[in-house]
């Protein structure tokens, strides 16, 4: 679906962006709009499927199809959209609470399918829109602004979880490094298969621990790092390295593409294997009637049920 670069303004809606001043989401929004523009994606054939949270509102700010779904369920909606019409470019945007808390079951399960969509996690460590409770990526013992006591749960590592679940593209970026974020999102969209982009996203309102200052000191870009699996035999080595690298957190936090493997067939490929006309004539594009008369013949099916 790549085309030539398009003016970024075309990807902006008229809606007022009602995030808090300084919110990391602005960086994600910019990066994503730039990525869409640079890839020249057709707004009609591009869909942002978002969850519920501050992050989820992004679907209203980008001028492509926007499906602002339910808390935790964006990936499920996105799967239906993509499989019914594989010609669409489908991007999921949702919060860490949304995708790694209430939605983590879908987050993991879509890994088994390798559907060709891009999953972007707005990783701010808190439940923003419900006023700052601890989200699944907040480490234990950390007491952000709105918590009555330090966080009682351990943090989940989105990259590790994605690797364990079968994602074929696993990356991390940073909301305030818009260029890096844009490039990472572009790579994820271009990737053939299921892609995770975990975006470290400061929430100045509720996460007073993992702030811009905090991240700026720690973040570094992966260098001399080739994440791409080029043959079967490389998988073991590259995924192992990715596992180890993904565990790095603390004084130094790597960003970049940790792992990429396009050798795994996408779900769409797998369907095509069963139904040879699937990609050419997917569900959404089939005419099911002609002037009201159905075109699907069940004659053979009925015959199979005949007893006389």
């Amino acid at each position: 679906m790549a085309a030539s670069k398009i003016d970024i303004k075309l990807y902006k809606t008229q809606e007022w962006v009602d995030w808090c001043p300084g919110c990391g989401n602005f960086g994600i929004l910019n990066a994503e709009q730039m990525a869409l523009a640079e890839l020249g994606l057709d707004p009609k054939r591009t869909v942002i499927v978002s969850g519920i949270g501050c992050s989820g509102k992004i679907a209203h700010f980008i001028n492509v199809n926007g499906v602002h779904t339910l808390h935790g369920r964006a990936v499920a909606f996105a799967t239906g959209i993509k499989l019914a019409n594989p010609e669409l470019e489908v991007i999921v945007n949702a919060g860490d609470g949304d995708q790694l808390g209430i939605g983590v079951g879908h987050f993991v399960s879509v890994g088994r399918r390798n559907v060709d969509i891009t999953v972007i996690v707005h990783d701010n460590g808190v439940y923003g829109l419900t006023k700052g409770q601890a989200a699944p990526t907040l480490p234990r013992g950390v007491k952000t602004k709105a918590l009555p006591e330090p966080n009682i749960n351990d943090a989940i590592n989105p990259l590790l979880l994605a690797l364990a679940s079968g994602y074929t593209f696993v990356a991390r970026t940073y909301a305030y490094d818009v260029k890096h974020a844009k490039e990472t999102i572009k790579a994820a969209i271009t990737h053939k298969g299921l892609a995770l982009v975990d975006v470290l996203q400061p929430c100045p309102t509720y996460n007073n621990i993992n702030t811009k200052e905090w991240y700026d000191k720690r973040i570094y870009k992966l260098e001399n790092w080739d994440p791409v699996v080029k043959s079967e035999s490389e998988i073991e080595d590259k995924i192992t390295k990715a596992y180890l690298k993904a565990r790095e957190w603390g004084d130094k936090i790597p960003i970049g593409i940790f792992y990429q493997n396009e050798a795994v067939p996408t779900y769409e490929d797998r369907v095509e294997e069963r139904v040879s006309t699937y990609l050419k004539n997917p569900p959404a594009k089939q005419e099911i009637d002609k002037n009201g008369r159905f075109v699907t013949s069940i004659e053979n099916i009925v015959k199979n049920k005949r007893v006389v």
């Binding site: 239906g80 959404a284 099911i288 007893v307």
Partner: protein, 628 residues
């Protein structure tokens, strides 16, 4: 009119279903109609299951409690069902000395109940005892030496007995056919039609041959010439076929009894023929069938698919539907045409997962927080199940809102032989509602005079959806005036549906009389068949079968019920849910109730007796308890 009831029982996994299917198909070939019910435990192997069939020269829609012929292979079925059989019992001679107390697979409560009965009639709790009891009541006992026949077949075919042990079922079918007086060639044809593996075809034919002579013809059934084709249907298949014909292109599901057979059927037929109705040109196209990780994903994936323009649906039963209500609300809020086929089983909670019930009506009417239009329909037989699956899509797309299609487990698993012409699918029409491919800018939720907005598919325009209250563009809006208007827009679609859909098409009326019977779903068949019989008892009734609950055919129901001397409500639940909808819509309360919640289907025998009790004693609430 021929009406013979045949029952076969045995442990889950031993082929009782196959037996009934082969037998039924053989009868169909001889020109008979069949209606049968499958009853089984939530268990894979070992627990008691049985099949209860009515054989008739007229189309049947129900089963009976009075069993003419009971076919058994082992002891448990004898203990479970001996009180129901009237004419013939086939049994395995080797088991005569079996004691009830040695049967592990029987549930404690059941064993105790049987033991208590046997004690009360002074019969020892052994197969022998029961046989004696039956003999005393005039039941003819036909011992069958299954093992001997199997051994003979095995020997002839040079196979182990284990390999062909399932031919035991054919033996049962063969003897039964003979007893009925029908030619064994029908069985041979049925065997050839059903089994793919040559070895099994051969073994089964041999077994049939050897068994056929074991009984003498007793019922004198004659072959009936058949004009046109007949098909064998169960409810799951009927819905699946309806969906395929109706253009489903995306079906999501998570495995659950008794819904998943429908999805598995669609998956097995996912490559379909698309035929131009004018040129007759045909090509292969595909249906995506997605097994999701749970029902939350199932409904939401289907909604996603529907946004792209594919006719999309999901199928489930109670536990799964409980997980779908949040998604349903999103679809209502976003005016998405998605169809949910809701197979009702024994509830609440996990309940009786493989048994039936009709206790989910009010839940489906009010499912999901807040108010949004949903259309609720319910099928009463296999032909309706087929046609309603298509209707559901048309309604969903016309009114751009979710449709819930209720099918009870009895209907889903029931087996019937019907005239193919009844399906009448070439006369079915698609109504896709207001679909557009916009030129320029597009408002998905545009206010219009009839409250329905032109609908474009994602891929053909840029549009926005949200579960939040939204403006015409689909962007979040908390503005009060917009909220009032947009909310009303959604709700008014239901009022529009109420105006447009003829009330006559929302219910069926059968018969005439001073007494009205209200029912819905599978009990329809029992009531209809009982009505025939009651006429002979001098009781005439009018059956009102409700088919659409939302929007409810208020005026017509009021008109029909007014002035009746009695209104009898028949349902497979405890609280008479349909009756409460009738009451809240029309102000009219039934005078009497026939209710059943033991998970087993209502039989025509039960209806007949209950109606008589009501007519004679005006009993307010007759509780049915039939079925093992």
């Amino acid at each position: 009119m021929v009406k013979i009831t045949w029952m076969i029982g045995g442990p889950q996994g031993s082929g009782v279903d196959t037996s009934a299917t082969v037998f039924g198909n053989a009868l169909a070939r001889a020109g008979y109609y069949i209606y049968g019910n499958r009853e089984y435990h939530s268990n894979i192997e070992g627990r008691h299951s049985y099949f209860n069939l009515t054989i008739s020269d007229k189309p049947m829609h129900s089963i009976s409690d009075d069993i003419n012929i009971l076919v058994t292979f082992e002891a448990e079925t004898i203990f479970q069902h001996f009180r129901e059989v009237h004419d013939y019992l086939f049994y395995n001679k080797a088991l005569e000395s079996t004691k009830l107390s040695t049967i592990n697979s029987i549930e404690r409560e059941t064993a105790e109940e049987i033991e208590a009965f046997l004690e009360s009639v002074n019969v020892p709790p052994t197969v022998e005892g029961v046989l004696g009891y039956l003999r005393g009541r005039g039941v003819k006992l036909i011992p069958v030496e299954y093992d001997k026949i199997l051994m003979a077949v095995a020997e002839e075919m040079k196979l182990s007995v284990a390999t062909i042990s399932r031919s035991r079922n054919i033996i049962a079918a063969a003897v039964s056919l003979r007893l009925l007086g029908l030619d064994k060639k029908y069985l041979a044809e049925a065997i050839r039609g059903l089994f793919k593996n040559d070895l099994f075809v051969k073994a089964n034919l041999l077994a049939a041959d050897k068994a056929y002579g074991l009984a003498e013809p007793a019922y004198g059934l004659k072959e009936i010439p058949v004009s046109g084709h007949r098909v064998q249907l169960d409810g799951n298949t009927a819905v699946a076929m309806g969906k395929i014909a109706g253009g489903v292109r995306f079906q999501s599901y998570y495995p659950i009894t008794p819904a998943s057979d429908e999805s598995v059927f669609i998956e097995a037929n996912q490559v379909v023929d698309a035929v131009d109705p004018d040129t007759k040109e045909s090509r292969k196209v595909g249906i995506v069938v997605l097994q999701t990780e749970d029902e939350l994903a199932a409904i939401n994936a289907s909604i996603g698919a529907a946004l792209t323009g594919a006719r999309a649906s999901t199928s489930t039963s109670g536990p799964g539907f409980s997980l779908m209500v949040e998604g349903l609300g999103w679809a209502g809020m976003n005016e998405v045409p998605v169809v949910v086929t809701y197979y009702m089983r024994g509830a609440p909670s996990t309940g009786l997962p493989t048994r039936s019930g009709q206790a989910d009506l009010l839940f489906s009417m009010h499912a999901g927080h807040g108010e949004f239009p949903k259309i609720v329909i319910a099928s009463g037989d296999h032909v309706e199940a087929f046609k309603d699956a298509i209707w559901a899509f048309n309604l969903a797309e016309r009114y751009q809102t979710p449709v819930i299609h209720l099918v009870d487990k009895s209907l889903a698993n029931a087996y019937s032989i019907i005239d193919e012409s009844e399906l009448d699918y070439s006369s079915m029409r698609a109504d896709r509602g207001k679909i557009v491919i916009p030129d320029g800018s597009y408002k998905r939720f545009q206010f219009t005079d009839d409250y329905i907005s032109p609908r474009a598919f994602i891929g053909n325009a840029v549009m926005h959806y949200t579960g939040d209250e939204h403006n015409e563009e689909g962007h979040i809006s908390e503005n009060s005036a917009n909220r009032i208007k947009m909310y009303e827009k959604r709700m008014k679609k239901l009022e529009l549906a109420d105006k447009e859909i003829p009330e006559e098409s929302r219910l069926n009326v059968f018969g005439e009389g001073d007494v009205a019977v209200i029912t819905w779903g599978s009990p329809k068949g029992a009531v209809m068949d009982a009505m025939e019989e009651l006429k002979q008892d001098g009781i005439s009734m009018q059956l009102i079968q409700l088919r659409m609950f939302n929007p409810f055919p208020r005026n017509l129901v009021t008109k029909l019920l007014k002035g009746k001397s009695k209104i009898i409500d028949v349902e497979n639940n405890y609280t008479a849910q349909a009756a409460s909808l009738v009451a809240s819509s029309t102000g009219i309360q039934p005078t009497n109730y026939i209710l059943k919640w033991n998970g087993r289907p209502i039989t025509r025998t039960e209806i007949r007796n209950a109606v008589k009790t009501i007519m004679e004693k005006d009993e307010k609430r007759v509780i049915l308890s039939g079925g093992q």
